[in-house]
Amino acid sequence: MKADAPPKLSFWRKSLNARSALLYLFPSILLFAVFIFYPMFRTIYLSFFLTDQQGAAALFVGLENYAYLFESKEFRNSIKATVLFVLYTVPTGVIIALFLALIANERLKGIGFFRTVYSSTMGISVAASSVVWLFLFHPSIGMFNRLLNVMNLPGVQWLLDPDWALVSISISTIWMNIGFSFLILLGGLQNIDEYLYESARIDGAGYWYQLRRITIPMLSPTLFFIITISLINAFQTFGQVDILTKGGPSQATNLIVYSIYREAFVNYQFGTASAQAVFLFICILIVTILQFKLGEKKVHYQ
């Protein structure tokens, strides 16, 4: 009878699994802690303080930084620019990438060349491509204005006109992001079973019907992923703005991340910069949660 009683395990032995799990997780926990968790909590902490020039917390002000932000015209303008920027870049970028992926998915001779070309923007850094676009947008020697000239149209001050600057930044951003979206969508398309299309062909379904009833639903998890990633990327855009316009002209392209940078490293207002960063974090979080809630029903996972 005595033998039936479960032997008492010491805490040390019972936690064996947990300890080995922790050991495996240690490298990533360390990296996450140093580069993500600590900066995140530090940012939240700083957003409640006024800081000195070195960025050390000097005076606790509670939510005053946030209150200041929402009263600031500059910040509201920056939110508006960011929202517009997201609306310009995400749908257009995804649709163009989807179109390119669809035509690059056809089995044709030399299609490998086009696949390489379409995905090549993935391999170019934001800084390098921004410099290229800087030349394309140049008012007198830029290609765009020359083309307009040839067609006898008036030139556009692409990066200097407040009405055009955000559009110009959007165009260059769409171009930069297409490579990645294209590659992911092409991968998604190639994962769709060829037999489904053959079966549809026997039934007599045309190209558009197949696209609507088979391709898009089967691609929905990939599309969903790409939309989420593009949204987050668009909210976090910085490099193009810094190189092409520096937030100008007259704040037209002062997107949130650029505004955070300016506030912190030009104006040395680490407190308000942190408050902006926290605000951006909450915005992205809400948008992503909303997207998951709304998108879940429409997305078909295999």
Partner: protein, 377 residues
């Protein structure tokens, strides 16, 4: 209920080597026609050419007396079941079944009615609202079947539809598909690599090897009179035993190993034109020697493997450098290594020409039994 006719059909991907060459066959309306062959013999390619999913590079394909080489798949009056079923994973069973009807602009009430009829016939009614991933392999197979017959196309093509099922379910679906085909009277073209499916399902079967027709005919005729050693070993399980024999000078004997000699009767001697020949005999035609057997007819063989299957015993032995098998009904207490006396009867042997591989003598004693009318009285 349409005829399918192939005249000299061939297929080549690089314009030099043909993967399918010179296929001429006429498939009758309402016939269950099985294409069988080992993997890579071109049987699936042939089916896809009939379906229009693969271009025909030579010859003529006629579907119901209309030349159809360049017709798109949807205009060929066919339905098709794919090996992996090709169900749309994002649609429910019902939507999967009516997908084709939707495309063909058939009215909603008609769609619903047909879907219900087919679901009833295949026992799918409780699953209509489910997604394919929530079904078992056999149920998915039924959905694929339902999708093919709901179109009411006169010709149905099937590409190894049972290969993803387990043995028991496969045997069940075999008879079910056969029954549905009979009931609806569809012309069925069925591709398989499994000779059991071919034997049990087909009205006629065509054996393909390396893209060439080996033999076309009723299953039992092919079993009894295989056109060449390939067909002989492909159809039947265990396969027909094959041995290389030398014809001796007087042409009254074929020698195919040290122990085994076969006496050739007088009237068949003119058949042997060369001095080498291929001998084939089915495992079930190798008999146990009895007391009455003459000593010179007995062949002693040493068993290398024995399988007792309850109602029959299969054992293998070596003969002229090859493994032969014998299948005897009943349970035989034979151990590995035992020496067993057997009889190779000339009447149940096939002879093939070893150069042309053509059959020159078919077995006459094949133990076929016929129920005469009196039996039932």
């Amino acid at each position: 209920m349409k005829k399918v006719e192939l005249v000299g059909v061939s297929k080549s991907y690089d314009k030099k080597t043909e993967v399918i060459s010179d296929i001429t066959v006429s498939i009758e309306p309402g016939e269950f026609f099985v294409l069988v062959g080992p993997s890579g013999c071109g049987k699936s390619t042939m089916l896809r050419m009939i379906a229009g999913l693969e271009e025909i590079t030579g010859g003529i394909l006629k579907i119901g007396d209309v030349e159809s080489n360049w017709l798109p798949p949807s205009k060929r009056d066919i339905s098709m079941v794919f090996q992996n079923y090709a169900l749309y994973p994002h649609l429910t069973v019902e939507e999967n079944i009516i997908f084709g009807l939707h495309v063909k602009k058939i009215s909603k009430t008609e769609r619903k009615k047909r879907c219900e009829d087919v679901a009833e016939m295949l026992g799918l009614t409780p699953y209509l609202k489910r997604k394919p991933r929530e079904l078992s392999g056999g149920q998915r197979q039924r959905v694929a079947l339902a999708r093919a017959i709901v179109n009411q196309a006169p010709i149905c093509l099937m590409d190894e539809p049972l290969s993803n099922l387990d043995a028991k379910l496969r045997a069940h679906m075999r008879s079910e598909i056969r029954q549905i085909q009979r009931r609806l009277g569809i012309t069925m073209i069925y591709v398989t690599h499994d000779q059991v499916e071919a034997m049990t399902m087909g009205d006629r079967i065509m054996i393909l090897h390396d893209g060439k027709i080996q033999q076309i005919g009723k299953p039992i005729d092919i079993y009894n009179n295989p056109a060449n050693p390939f067909v002989a070993t492909f159809i039947g399980s265990p396969p027909m035993n094959i041995g290389e024999g030398k014809v001796n000078q007087e042409k009254d004997q074929v020698v195919f190993s040290e122990e085994a000699k076969l006496a050739i009767p007088e009237e068949d001697r003119q058949l042997l034109k060369t001095d080498r020949i291929i001998v084939g005999i089915r495992p079930e035609h190798l008999k146990a020697a009895t007391k009455e057997t003459k000593t010179e007819d007995k062949v002693y063989v040493k068993t290398t493997n024995v399988e007792v299957l309850g109602n029959e015993t299969i054992f293998s032995f070596e003969m002229g450098g090859r493994e032969w098998m014998a299948k005897w009904t009943g349970q035989w207490r034979i151990d590995v290594g035992d020496v067993v006396p057997i009889v190779i009867s000339y009447d149940s042997v096939c002879l093939f020409d070893s150069d042309t591989e053509k059959i020159i003598k078919t077995p006459t004693d094949i133990e076929n039994h016929v129920f005469d009318k009196e039996v039932f009285l």
